[in-house]
């Protein structure tokens, strides 16, 4: 029990007459990579939004390390160590790459008014440290040369990496990636796989991801939840899932 980081029980989400998510249960362990897959419209992103606090679930409970986070606003959920990326990359496009990483550290820096206005030593140290941490992540992601460029001007693959770096700089315990491989070429996808693995090993962060790219899913996931029409079809290891008849049927034609 102590190794369970995220626990989702009976999650349901109703939009007017549409039941987008119906009774979903799953758990993510502390350094596990857990994937949610399913055909389009299965409700995967809705699950993400419920877990992340962007939607208030119609019913069900989400717990993080035993603490209930369902019903909390999204910024509070993030402060519990749960951050996410988005399907259409949501960078602060007019801010520089560096500034994107600085903003993400907002809760960790000296953000009171007086020390900042007077440039007190404590403030200056805090800013330096924030810059250093940002520089470290830029190096890790190989983005250092773009530090002062507008984030919106980066190549797409770099933007995705920056978004992940921005999440990681908040020192999360669970990283939620929403279709991180979309729009990437095969080499970039291989790099992504290596990156996720590295993040998990070096930073001990658990990963929850939604993806359509099967080779990525099979290569990186510890366990997979398959959804269709808002419901869970099955949960299991990659081998179990790929040979499950129901899964194959749901995906008829996809692979």
């Amino acid at each position: 029990m102590s190794s369970t980081l995220l626990k989702v029980s009976g999650l349901s989400m109703r939009f007017g007459g549409l039941l987008a998510v119906d009774g979903i249960d799953f758990e993510v362990a502390k350094d596990e990579v857990f994937a949610i897959i399913g055909p389009n419209g299965a409700g995967k992103t809705t699950v993400f939004n419920c877990v992340g606090g962007f939607y208030k679930p119609s019913s069900g409970v989400v717990e993080m390390d035993g603490q209930r986070i369902s019903g909390l606003p999204s910024h509070m959920v993030a402060r519990h160590g749960l951050v996410r990326t988005f399907q259409n990359v949501r960078l602060f496009k007019q801010l520089t790459v560096l500034e994107n990483l600085l903003v993400a550290q907002h809760t960790q820096v000296e953000n009171r008014l007086l020390p900042g206005l007077l440039k007190l030593p404590g403030y200056r140290r805090s800013e330096e440290q924030a810059q250093e941490r940002a520089a470290q992540w830029l190096d890790f992601m190989g983005l250092r040369e773009y530090a002062n460029r507008e984030a919106g001007n980066l190549a797409y693959g770099h933007q995705r990496r920056l978004e992940i770096a921005r999440c990681m700089i908040t020192k999360p315990r669970l990283l939620m990636l929403d279709e991180p491989a979309a729009g990437l070429n095969p080499q970039e996808k291989r790099d992504l796989q290596g990156l996720i693995d590295r993040l998990r090993r070096e930073f001990g962060v658990a990963v929850l991801l939604i993806e359509h790219d099967m080779s990525l899913i099979m290569g990186i996931s510890d366990r997979i939840l398959v959804m269709e029409h808002g419901r869970a079809i099955t949960t299991g290891s990659p081998e179990q899932v790929r040979s499950d008849e129901r899964v194959i049927k749901a995906y008829l034609g996809e692979e």
């Binding site: 939009f15 007017g16 939004n49 962007f54 939607y55």
Partner: protein
């Protein structure tokens, strides 16, 4: 106690006639918002222009010609509607269409600028001070209720407001439901992009929306001018905000909502003026606006929105 019923009846009647005006103007706001997602800040000025055009028409005809009253009023309405329709069309082309793709603040400022421009445009043309409107209707229906002889007075002018408004509402509802343009409007307000792909000329629908809203506001303007007996170029501002409050109250984007909201606001304001204080009646409207937007921004007849992430 015996005074209560006639008093209430009087207030309800007054509230309904006031609410009818708000409803007419609110429809304009709600239609425009429903279709392009923008608050037409200058809509109050359209109402004001309608009132002035009515007065000019009336002055041109002259009150002594012996024409039957309904005909004169009809003439005022027709001319006012035609002119404000033109204003509504031009307003959209000049101040809103060019900024359609821009961020919200840009469109809003353009609208505010237009509002200020139109107020001063009229002030330059017809003077900034109050203008008197000759009284066309005198008298009304009087009920004597209660032992003390406290009566309910229903001036003909106010009865006319309610009648005209009801007729227009029915007409509008039928039009939206059964006509081609009405269907196209509904399609556009639901999904503009899709409507475009289906071959609907969305620009024409948008122009039509502005024109129709303007015409209804003009009716409101003319009727108010006749009833109250005076006007000035700055009456659009406060009435505009109140009508917008009514639109939000009923559910922005919903025409029945605008009608309902208008009536409710008219009643609320009348009762507040009667039983709290007439000085604070404007505050009632503004406070109502703030409260609705805080607690139920989708209004009474609107659907709660979920933000798509």
């Amino acid at each position: 106690m015996s005074d209560l019923i006639p008093q209430l009846t009087q207030q309800i009647f007054n509230g309904l006639s006031l609410g009818a005006i708000y409803a007419l103007i609110a429809i304009g706001y709600t239609m425009v918002y429903g279709i392009i997602g923008m608050i037409n800040f200058a809509h109050g000025e359209i109402y004001m222009i309608g009132a002035y055009v009515g007065l000019v028409t009336l002055t041109a005809i002259g009150t002594q010609t012996g024409l039957p009253l309904p005909l004169m009023v009809a003439a005022m309405l027709v001319v006012a509607m035609a002119v404000t329709g033109a204003y509504g069309y031009t307003l959209e082309r000049v101040a809103y269409r060019p900024v359609r793709g821009s961020p919200r603040l840009v469109a809003l400022i353009s609208a505010i600028g237009m509002s200020i421009f139109l107020q001063n445009w009229m002030a330059l043309g017809q003077g900034a001070r109050d203008m008197a409107v000759p009284a066309l209707f005198s008298g009304g229906i009087n009920f004597d209720m209660g032992a003390d002889g406290f009566g309910v007075t229903m001036p003909y002018s106010r009865i006319m407001i309610i009648v005209v408004t009801v007729v227009l509402m029915i007409g509008l509802t039928l039009f939206i439901k059964y006509s081609r343009m009405g269907r196209a409007s509904r399609a556009c307000s639901q999904d503009m992009h899709m409507a475009n792909l289906l071959g609907i000329d969305t620009n024409k629908v948008i122009s039509f929306t502005f024109v129709l809203g303007a015409m209804l506001a003009a009716v409101g303007g003319v009727l108010i001018a006749i009833t109250i007996g005076k006007l000035n170029p700055f009456i659009g501002f406060i009435v505009g905000i109140k009508a917008f409050t009514a639109a939000v109250l009923g559910g922005i984007g919903s025409i029945p909502g605008a009608m309902l909201g208008g009536v409710l606001l008219g009643l609320a304001e009348t009762f507040a003026a009667a039983y709290i204080s007439s000085q604070y009646k404007d505050i009632v409207a503004f406070s109502l606006l703030v409260l609705i937007l805080l607690f139920r921004p989708t209004g009474l007849l609107g659907k709660p929105e979920v933000e798509k992430v």
